[in-house]
C-alpha cells in the first residue's frame, strides 16, 4: 500500500498528498504487509538509526548544541518503561531530541514512538483552539466562552439532576499531580463517577 492510498483512506487525498511524509521514502514505498511482517519492531529501530545517521551526516554542527541552546531532561510519554529524553531547546523551541545514553533504565534506547516524541509538540494535527459543535459543524470559540459555557451547563445539570449525573474519565497520560487533581475534583464535585484507563 502506497502513501497516496493513505490519503484516499482519509477521504482527503489531494490535500493530504501535498503534505506527504518524507522521513524515509524507502520505508514508505514498501507494501503495508511487508511493513507489518515479523520484523516491524526492528523496522522501528532501523528508523531510529537512520534518523541518527541523518543527523550526524549534517556534520559537526549536529553534534554540538546550537548556540544558546539548553538541554532539558524529561521522560517519554508513551509506555511505562519511563525512557529518558534529552531535549535541546533553543529560544523556547524544541529543536532536537537527543538519546539519553546515561539514563539508568533506557540507556539510550528508544522505540520508534520515543524516537519521534518531538512530533507530539510539532504535529500539525494538534488542536490550537477550543471548539464547539453547532449544527453539526465545528466552531472555534475562545477559552473564556468555552469554560463559561461548560461550567454553566455543569452547574445546571448538578442543580437539576444531581452531581452523579456527571462522569469524569480521567487519564493515565497526565502527571501524578494532575491525576490526583482529577480524583480530588470528583470528590469536591460530589460524586464517585470518576475512572481512568487503569480500569481496563
Amino acid at each position: 500500500m502506497s502513501r497516496s492510498r493513505i490519503g484516499n483512506t482519509l477521504g482527503c487525498g489531494a490535500e493530504n498528498g501535498a503534505r506527504r511524509v518524507t522521513l524515509n521514502p524507502k520505508v514508505a514505498r514498501r507494501s503495508f504487509l511487508k511493513l507489518s511482517a515479523a520484523t516491524a519492531a526492528l523496522t522501528g529501530a532501523a528508523m531510529t538509526t537512520k534518523m541518527t545517521r541523518k543527523a550526524s551526516a549534517a556534520g559537526k554542527a549536529a553534534k554540538e548544541a546550537h548556540p544558546g541552546s539548553t538541554m532539558v531532561r524529561s521522560v517519554c510519554t508513551h509506555c511505562a518503561v519511563g525512557c529518558g529524553i534529552n531535549a535541546e531547546v533553543n529560544n523556547g523551541v524544541w529543536i532536537r531530541q537527543e538519546i539519553a545514553q546515561d539514563h539508568p533504565v533506557s540507556r539510550g534506547g528508544y522505540c520508534c514512538k520515543g524516537a519521534s516524541a518531538i512530533d507530539m509538540v510539532t504535529s500539525e494535527k494538534r488542536l490550537k483552539n477550543p471548539m464547539k459543535k453547532v449544527g453539526g459543524k465545528w466552531e472555534k470559540i475562545s477559552w473564556d466562552q468555552a469554560l463559561d459555557e461548560i461550567s454553566k451547563k455543569l452547574t445546571t445539570i448538578r442543580e437539576n439532576d444531581g452531581p452523579d449525573a456527571v462522569h469524569l474519565n480521567g487519564s493515565a497520560k497526565v502527571s501524578t499531580e494532575m491525576a490526583y487533581l482529577q480524583r480530588k475534583f470528583a470528590a469536591f464535585w460530589g460524586s464517585n463517577n470518576v475512572d481512568h484507563q487503569a480500569r481496563i
Partner: protein, 716 residues
C-alpha cells in the same frame, strides 16, 4: 511491578503470560535479553499468539484465550506433586497454602490440556524449567487481566511465585508491565471510582483522612453529595459508564448520566464501541480535553460537544511513576503551543468557575510542586511521602550516577538511594524500596516484609483450619526489633494508625525500630471476600468450548456492579459458538499507543503503520477463500461489525482472530474523517477493533473482557 525492569537482569528464568513486551515495552527488552544471554535464562512466552516477544523466547506455549488460570494451577499442581515447592518460604511467609493446594490438585496436566489446549507434557516440562531455574521473573499484561476472571487469573500468577519462593528476591517477583506512561501514578492516585487516592477506599474514615489532608470540613464534603450514601458507593467505571447514559441495562443511580468529561482518555479503548458511540450521541454535554481531537470527537455526531486543546505533557511538568514504581520528574521542555493551556490551568479555570477554588487550592500555591507535597502528605499507605519534588528533581539531574544492575546511586548527591525512590519511600531520608517484600535488607535501606492487612488469624471456610496470618518466628528484616511476624502499627499517636497519622510519627517510630509500618505478615492464597476464595478456572462468557461450561461455569449474575447490572450466567450461552465460531483477541503494535489519537497524528509513526488489519490463519483463510490483503467483515455477537484487511499469518491459530486496537476514525465500514475538525483528522484512520470486542466484565474489578470474545468472519 514488585521488582524493576533492571532487576530482571538477575532472573534465572522468565515467564511472560499475556505480555508482548517486544512491542508494548520495547526498551525493557535490553534487560530481559541480558538475562537470556548472560544468565542463560530460559524465556517462556505463554500467549494465544506467536508474538514478537515469542520470537525472542526459548519456549513458546500457545494457550487458548481466557484459560490462563487453568494453566497456572496446572503448573502449581505439578510443582507440588514433585515436591519442587519452596517449603521454607511457604511455611514461614505464606497463608492458606493447604487450602489452595487442594484446589490446584484438580488441575492435572491432562485436565489442563483439555481446558487450555496445552499438551500435558508441556505443562510438566515448563514446571520443571521454572523449578530448576530460580528465581523466575513472572510478567503479565492485559492478556492476563482482560477476562471476566481476570482477578482470579492474576492471583494464580502470584500464587505460582509464592509456591516457588520467588517473591521478595532479586531476579524474581511479579512484574506487571504497566501500559501508559503514568498509569502507575494515576492508579496510585486512584482516578478510580472505588477509592480515594492511595487506595484508601471510600469508607467514612477514608473521607475523613483526606478531608484532613485537604484541610476542608468533612460535613462540607458530605454536603457536596446528593446524599451521604453516595460518598461510600462505588461509581461508574471507564468500562461501563456509557450504560449510565443508554439505560438499556438496569442502573443503580438516582439519575442517568447527562454529562461526561473525557480528559486525556481515548474513547475507542472501550469494548462494544458501537454502543459507546450511541451513548455519546445522547449526552447533554460532552467535553473532550486532549491535545488531539481523538476518535470521540468524530464518533459523537450530536451537538453539545466541546473540544479543549490541552498541551502535551512535554509542555508542562510534574512527576510520573514508571512501571518499576520509580518516580521521575518530567521537566517541561517548552511552553504550551499557541492556543493551548496545560492541564493544571484548565483545571484551575474550571474549579474557579464552579465556585470551590478557595477550598480546592487551600494548600496549593506553587503548581505542581505544592500538589506533589499535598498528595504525598496523604498517601501514607504506599509511602509516597518521602519523594519530595526536590528529591525527585535531584534524581533526574543525576540519573547518570545510578548503577544499571542495582539502580542504586554510587556516590554523588544521591549516594545509596534507588533511582526514582520506588514506593514505598517512608521518609525524606528513605532510599526507596527497589524490591517489594525483600527481607534481606533493613527496612530503612529499602527492605520490606509482607503487609499485615487481613487480621491476625483466620479460620478457613473450606478446611475449618485456623491459621496465624503473621509471618513465622525468624522471618524479619535485619535490624528489626521483633524476630518474627508483627501486626501493623497503631496508636503511636493515640487514635491514629500508620495510615492516618499525618504527623508521620508512626512511620518514623516503626523505622526507628527497624520495622515496617504495615506489619510483617504472610501473603495469602485464600481471599475470603472474593467469590472464588482460591482462584479457579471459569470458562469465558462467550466460549468456543460450550462442553466445558458445566464443569467450569461462570458466576451468577451480579446486580449493582459499579452501579450497573452485570450478566454472567445469563450471558454464557452454549449455542453462541455455532454462529460465532472464532475467538477474537486484541493487542498492541510497537508503532502505536492506546486508541492511537497521538500516534496516528504523528507523521513518522503513521508512515510506519498506516493501516488497520486483522490476523487470520492461512488454513482458515484458505478454507473461506480469503486472500492475503483482501477485505473481510468481522462481526461480534453484540452487533458490532467492522471491515478490515486480512493479514494471513500463522502467528494466530485457525480458531483465533487478532486485531490491534489502536485504530479509529472509521466506524462499521463508514469513514468519519469528515467529522474531525478540518485539518485535524489523524494521518491514519481505520476501524476500531473494540467495535467487535464482546460483552464481559471481571467479577471484582469490572475490567472488560476483550481478550477472549467470539466473532464471525466473512468476505467483504
Amino acid at each position: 511491578m514488585t521488582n524493576s525492569l533492571n532487576d530482571m537482569r538477575h532472573a534465572k528464568s522468565l515467564i511472560f503470560i499475556g505480555s508482548n513486551a517486544a512491542e508494548a515495552h520495547p526498551i525493557s527488552m535490553q534487560h530481559i535479553l541480558h538475562a537470556k544471554e548472560v544468565n542463560n535464562a530460559p524465556i517462556i512466552v505463554v500467549d494465544p499468539r506467536f508474538t514478537k516477544l515469542a520470537a525472542k523466547a526459548s519456549d513458546f506455549v500457545r494457550i487458548r484465550p481466557g484459560t490462563d488460570a487453568a494453566f497456572m494451577l496446572g503448573l502449581i499442581n505439578v510443582i507440588i506433586q514433585n515436591g519442587w515447592q519452596d517449603k521454607e518460604f511457604i511455611e514461614t511467609r505464606v497463608a492458606g497454602y493447604e487450602e489452595m493446594a487442594v484446589v490446584a490438585a484438580d488441575y492435572t496436566p491432562e485436565a489442563v490440556e483439555e481446558i487450555t489446549g496445552i499438551p500435558a507434557s508441556e505443562t510438566v516440562r515448563i514446571a520443571k524449567i521454572l523449578a530448576t531455574n530460580r528465581p523466575t521473573s513472572l510478567t503479565w499484561c492485559m492478556g492476563g487481566t482482560q477476562h471476566h476472571i481476570g482477578s482470579s487469573i492474576t492471583r494464580t500468577f502470584c500464587i505460582l511465585q509464592l509456591v516457588l519462593g520467588n517473591m521478595g528476591k532479586s531476579g524474581g517477583g511479579t512484574n506487571i508491565f504497566r501500559g501508559h506512561d503514568n498509569v502507575q501514578g494515576a492508579t496510585d492516585m486512584c482516578v478510580l471510582s472505588h477509592s480515594l487516592p492511595a487506595y484508601y477506599g471510600l469508607s467514612d474514615g477514608s473521607w475523613k483522612h483526606w478531608c484532613r489532608v485537604w484541610d476542608v470540613d468533612y460535613d462540607w464534603m458530605v454536603s457536596r453529595f446528593k446524599e451521604k450514601k453516595w460518598m461510600n458507593a462505588k461509581g461508574f467505571t471507564l468500562s461501563r459508564w456509557y450504560e449510565g447514559v443508554l439505560q438499556e441495562e438496569k442502573i443503580e443511580q438516582y439519575t442517568p448520566l447527562k454529562a461526561v468529561i473525557q480528559w486525556g482518555c481515548g474513547s475507542n479503548s472501550n469494548s462494544q464501541y458501537h454502543r459507546v458511540k450511541r451513548a455519546l450521541d445522547m449526552l447533554d454535554l460532552y467535553v473532550i480535553i486532549d491535545p488531539f481531537p481523538t476518535m470521540a470527537a468524530a464518533a459523537c455526531e450530536s451537538d453539545n460537544v466541546y473540544l479543549l486543546p490541552c498541551s502535551s505533557q512535554y509542555e508542562t511538568s510534574g512527576s510520573v511513576t514508571s512501571t518499576s514504581r520509580q518516580i521521575q520528574w518530567r521537566h517541561k521542555i517548552v511552553d504550551p503551543i499557541a492556543g493551548c493551556k496545560d492541564d493544571y490551568e484548565i483545571m484551575a479555570e474550571l474549579v474557579k468557575r464552579l465556585g470551590f477554588a478557595d477550598k480546592f487550592y487551600k494548600n496549593i500555591k506553587q503548581v505542581p510542586e505544592d500538589i506533589t507535597l499535598e498528595l504525598g502528605r496523604g498517601s501514607l499507605t504506599i509511602g509516597y511521602n518521602g519523594q519530595t519534588p526536590d528529591r525527585i528533581k535531584k534524581h533526574m539531574a543525576n540519573w547518570h550516577t545510578f548503577d544499571i544492575e542495582t539502580l542504586q546511586a554510587k556516590g554523588g548527591p544521591c549516594d545509596g538511594e534507588y533511582y526514582g525512590m520506588p514506593w514505598p519511600c517512608w521518609t525524606t531520608e528513605h532510599p526507596g524500596t527497589p524490591i517489594l517484600y525483600d527481607i534481606s535488607k533493613e527496612v530503612t535501606k529499602g527492605g520490606l516484609p509482607f503487609r499485615n492487612r487481613f487480621g491476625l488469624e483466620k479460620k478457613y471456610d473450606s478446611s475449618g483450619r485456623t491459621e496465624n496470618q503473621l509471618a513465622a518466628v525468624g522471618v524479619a528484616n535485619p535490624g528489626c526489633e521483633v524476630q518474627g511476624g508483627y501486626p501493623e502499627f497503631k496508636d503511636v499517636v493515640p487514635g491514629t494508625n500508620w495510615k492516618t497519622d499525618l504527623s508521620q510519627k508512626t512511620l518514623k517510630e516503626a523505622l526507628r525500630r527497624g520495622m515496617a509500618p504495615f506489619g510483617n505478615a504472610r501473603a495469602r492464597c485464600v481471599v475470603w471476600t472474593f467469590p472464588d476464595q482460591v482462584p479457579i478456572h471459569r470458562e469465558p462468557l462467550h466460549t468456543p468450548r460450550p462442553d466445558l461450561i458445566e464443569k467450569y461455569p461462570t458466576y451468577e449474575d451480579k446486580p449493582n456492579h459499579y452501579r450497573v447490572h452485570t450478566r454472567y450466567k445469563s450471558e454464557q450461552k452454549p449455542d453462541l459458538v455455532k454462529e460465532f465460531p472464532l475467538v477474537l483477541t486484541t493487542g498492541r503494535m510497537v508503532e502505536h499507543m492506546g486508541g492511537g489519537a497521538e500516534t496516528r497524528s504523528n507523521k513518522y509513526l503513521s508512515e510506519l503503520q498506516p493501516e488497520m488489519y486483522a490476523e487470520v490463519n492461512p488454513m482458515l483463510a484458505n478454507n473461506m477463500g480469503i486472500r492475503d490483503g483482501e477485505e473481510i467483515w468481522i462481526e461480534s455477537p453484540e452487533g458490532g461489525k467492522i471491515r478490515v484487511k486480512a493479514k494471513l499469518t500463522e502467528r494466530v491459530d485457525e480458531k483465533t482472530i487478532f486485531m490491534p486496537y489502536h485504530f479509529g476514525g472509521v466506524l462499521m465500514g463508514r469513514s468519519l474523517a469528515g467529522n474531525y475538525p478540518k485539518g485535524h483528522e489523524p494521518y491514519v484512520i481505520g476501524e476500531a477493533a473494540n467495535v467487535c470486542t464482546n460483552y464481559g466484565y471481571d467479577i471484582i474489578t469490572q475490567i472488560q473482557a476483550t481478550k477472549d470474545g467470539l466473532c464471525k468472519v466473512s468476505k467483504a
